[in-house]
């Protein structure tokens, strides 16, 4: 009878605790929004996965931290000099099992949640370049980073890269809304990193290698392209602009820029022909 | 919670032997450190080689094999001479020890001299630092190793003088053993570099 009562008490307490804990979950994002330090506006199709995972993890962490602080507070204020110390080495079987179990539970919930969601999101979205590359609707752009600006290149009507009709821009990337955009990137001098905060993603631009990054915008507008790898004194000014347009506006823009680039094409300017055949290795 | 003295008996607590064990632990740790450093360099070799389009790149002179093999044998001979020297030392034959140690040192010096001639030949034949990481890696691995050979020669020189002067047989043999440890390490590293730089 006694044992049963104790079990019931235990489960009840656990239930109440879990219920109370649910309240602060997701609370982290609300606090952030309220204070004005929310993440940049997410205008991507899949960025919400990252936003959600960060917020729920931060909520878990806040809960764990609060529990730790309460535990410490009790020890500091109630178990002070007036409290007799227990001669307990903490290495009895039951104690070891409890410590290991508690660690395992925290690990499975917090770390497990992170791991499972990250694996799914990577395979379905963020590192899934194959599906995006094979999608005929994907807009493909090559980006060359250099101190301290972003060159971008669109293949142009002939579909070939590094030819006269390529649309080449400086610090200026336009994409159509609701279409996947796949960017291959490199650098011609030091390591830079292509950062789209409004899409929640970034990737390094490394000389001698071609990296990849993709996204799909769901809203039109103008957004920041920032450099996210220290690249010299003017790293802070390596700013580009990402413009998301309707399909018609985008087509018009691309046609115009391609036309301008073709006019400005100089066959002798080797540096300007930094493009490469679209890399299919990945 | 009563006092608990160590179980081994006092007879085994010979100060010379204790000091030798302590020095050996130190030497082993130092060699672990050096191993990790060379390990980092071999890792670099591996990574650069895998990422290279062709290794060696086209248009470079062939790697010689005869002279490098000869110097490898010289280094091996040096190691053998050193071990023979230590055996004589353990028997108390100081003169023989010093003769054999000198042989070991001379072989080491020859190793460096002939290695240098290989470098000069290859450089003149067109293998230089503009040949990408292939050339850089070759010269660096062999030169860095040669630097450690020089350090080893210094240690052997110290051993030549300090071992006979030791105040006890234990200390005498200890100094020789630890010096030999370093020399054999340098030799073992060479085996790996020989294959990476010249053979493969």
């Amino acid at each position: 009878m006694d044992l049963l009562k104790r079990l019931q008490q235990c489960w009840t307490r656990l239930g109440v605790a879990l219920f109370l804990l649910c309240i602060p979950l997701e609370g982290f994002a609300e606090v952030a929004k309220g204070s004005g330090f929310d993440m940049p506006r997410d205008v991507s199709l899949d960025g919400h996965r990252i936003t959600w995972l960060i917020n729920i993890t931060m909520s878990f962490l806040v809960i764990l931290f609060v529990i730790m602080v309460i535990w410490m507070a009790v020890a500091v204020f109630k178990h002070d000099e007036s409290h007799p110390a227990e001669y307990d080495h903490g290495d009895a079987g039951k104690q070891v099992v409890f410590a290991l179990s508690l660690s395992a539970v925290i690990f499975l919930i917090v770390d497990g949640n992170l791991y499972v969601n990250a694996m799914i999101d990577l395979d379905e979205v963020f590192w899934n370049f194959e599906d995006v590359d094979n999608n005929p609707e994907t807009v493909k752009i090559e980006v060359n980073a250099h101190q301290w600006a972003w060159d971008a290149r669109y293949a142009g009507p002939d579909g070939e890269w590094n030819t006269q009709d390529d649309a080449v821009t400086l610090n200026d990337i336009h994409v159509p809304v609701d279409k996947p955009v796949l960017i291959q990137l490199t650098s011609s001098d030091v390591i830079h990193a292509f950062n789209l905060p409004n899409m929640r993603i970034k990737a390094d631009a490394i000389p001698g290698t071609v990296g990849q990054i993709w996204f799909q915008a769901v809203e039109t507008g103008e957004f920041d392209i920032a450099c996210a790898e220290h690249c010299g004194a003017f790293h802070y000014k390596m700013k580009g602009k990402l413009t998301v347009l309707s399909q018609e506006a985008y087509d018009a823009w691309l046609g115009e820029v391609s036309h301008q680039s073709a006019l400005a094409y100089n066959p002798d300017d080797a540096d300007a022909h930094w493009g490469w055949p679209w890399s299919k290795e990945k | 919670m009563t006092a608990s003295a160590p179980k081994r008996s006092v007879i085994q607590l010979h100060p010379g032997r204790e000091e030798h064990t302590t020095n050996s632990v130190g030497m082993i740790l130092a060699l672990v450190s050096f191993t990790m450093m060379f390990g980092g360099l071999f890792y670099s070799y591996g990574l650069l080689r895998i990422r290279a389009v062709s290794w060696p790149p086209p248009g470079l002179p062939e790697m010689p094999l005869v002279l490098p093999s000869v110097i490898t044998l010289m280094l091996a001979g040096s190691a053998i001479a050193l071990e023979l020297a230590r055996k004589r030392l353990q028997r108390g034959e100081i003169e023989a020890f010093q003769r054999l140690t000198m042989t070991s040192i001379v072989l080491g010096v020859l190793f460096i001299a002939l290695q240098a001639s290989v470098w000069v030949d290859l450089w003149n034949a067109g293998l230089n630092l503009s040949a990408g990481p292939y050339g850089s890696m070759f010269y660096f691995l062999t030169a860095f190793h040669a630097l450690h050979v020089v350090a080893g020669l210094g240690i052997l020189g110290w051993m030549y003088v300090a071992s006979p002067r030791a105040t006890s047989p234990v200390l005498r043999n200890s100094r020789a053993q630890l010096s030999a440890c370093f020399w054999h390490f340098v030799g073992a590293v060479w085996l790996i570099i020989f294959f990476l730089a010249y053979v493969f």
Binding site: M72, Y115, W127, D189, A226 | A5, G132
Partner: protein, 613 residues
Amino acid sequence: MSTNSDAYQNLQPIHHPPTTFFNKYIWSIDHKVIAKQFLWGGLIFLLLGGLQAIFIRWQWAYPGQPVPVLGQIFFSDSGGVITPGHYTSLFTSHGLIMIFWAITPMMIGAFGNLTIPLMIGARDMAFPLLNALSFWTWFTSGLMVLASFMVPYGTAAAGWTTYPPLAGNAGTPGWGQSLFVLAIFTTGSATIMGGVNYVTTVIRLRAPGMTWDRLPLTVWGQFLTAILNVLFVPVLAAGGILLLLDRWFGTSFYVAGALAGEGAGDPILFQHLFWIFGHPEVYILILPVWGFVGDFVSFFSRKPAYWYKGSVCAMALVSIMSAVVYGHHMYATGIAPLLGKSFMMLTLIISVPAELLFLNWLHTMYHGSMRKTVPMTFALGTIFIFGSGGLTGLPLATITTDLYLHATMFVVGHFHLTMASAAFLGTFGAIYFWFPKMFGTLMNDRLARLHFWFSFIGLNGVFIGQMISGYAGQPRRLYDPFQYAFTEHMLGINQITTYFAFFLAFGQIFFAINWFWSIFKKDKSCDPNPWQVGTLEWSVPNPMPVYNFKVIPTVTCGPHEYANPECIEKLGKDWQGQWETLDSSVSEPAPAEDTADEATDPGAAEDAAETGK
């Protein structure tokens, strides 16, 4: 038994103490003096590194405005204004100096040297000469760092991570960058020398009865750190050598892209080598603090350390795993997906032993009898701040969340909470704790508590501020962070963070006053064991003799024997010293009596003869 001690005494002979000023204070082979040398040296560089941090914070709060007073001294070429070029050097040298010239010498050089021989019952380190050499090598590297500030083109400016190609000749020309890399190599050699010494000493010179399960957690922390140093600093050396060769001899290990010419190297190779060192390095910089905290929490809760074996295993497990998680610094570089995912899993797993350590600390203080001494206050602060910092590592360990958080102030806040703040508070706790042993007097209690609260509030303020702005997306290492639309609104939070930094900096004055006043004051009477703690160093009288222990003690129990009812009954106090038995309360074993135990040492006479000279 006493004759066994006799033989042990002879293994570590008592030498004549040094007499000249040079041998006493400059070229000293006494680990206690070398510890002080490292402590002074580290504090000076801590001041320099801290000043650089203040300048960085100034630039973020008042972008482009001249720095008052100090600006004329340090940035006179630009009228006191921090330029973009200055700025890149500031954050680069701040990071490098704090890691290699402030924390390492203080936490490891000073406290490893001080605590290891004393706490294991030895007279000095295994290799005292090597010990002195390691200090002067470090000192030389410090001179190189200072020299790098005075060369044309200025000092290193490629970030503490020194990634090529930016760290190559084309990216950062001039002698400054090269000198700094050479300085890192030099201090690395000093660290390896120290590491070899510490590990050998702990393995070989433990007093009789000092078994592995009776070592204080402080010694375990230093021991594991030393092993990691021995293993992984050489890998940094390898990476650094290749970089210097690229800079000086035109090799092409890391050169790629348009600069490459005929053959390209691989800039990512450097990142692999760097982080194979770099991740273990962060554990190197926290393990000693975990040791201090583990011990202090037990000492000042007057209660045994909870599940000692679990804590030791946790620290060991973290050390073992430290090298296989390094790829989480490289998620954005385009490494193979399978490799990236493996690093993610391992990085998540390494959080578990750290969690366990926390649980053990919390369990130790719970149901204890806490004395809120200055060292305990610092230990509590360390636990608090490492708790928040450590937890925030989880979203950084995960690849998808890291896609957003990488290279933002979230990362900077995370490592400053775990590495800088926890190391800072833990090391200062250690200073206050061992100060009476080192300098013969307790530091002033009130000043110490002021120092704590200013530091604690300041550290929390600065780095929580950084985490907030990082969560909101502010990138790191930006001269002017407010150039972008998504960061325009962040001047306010950066200014508040800067005010906390000024508050933190101001609080250090209390320490400086306390430090100088306590060391140089005339009246220094102090109980040799003011904290009533049972580890071996507290059995040594003040001032400590050069040889530490006149008679090498025989260890009788673990380092956390508090609140043992049998002890309270038999010794009349709540703690048992590691040199004390419960049958009598002698504070030192009786001097050797050679007639006592002939049965156990028939060879003693023979041995004594051989030991001779």
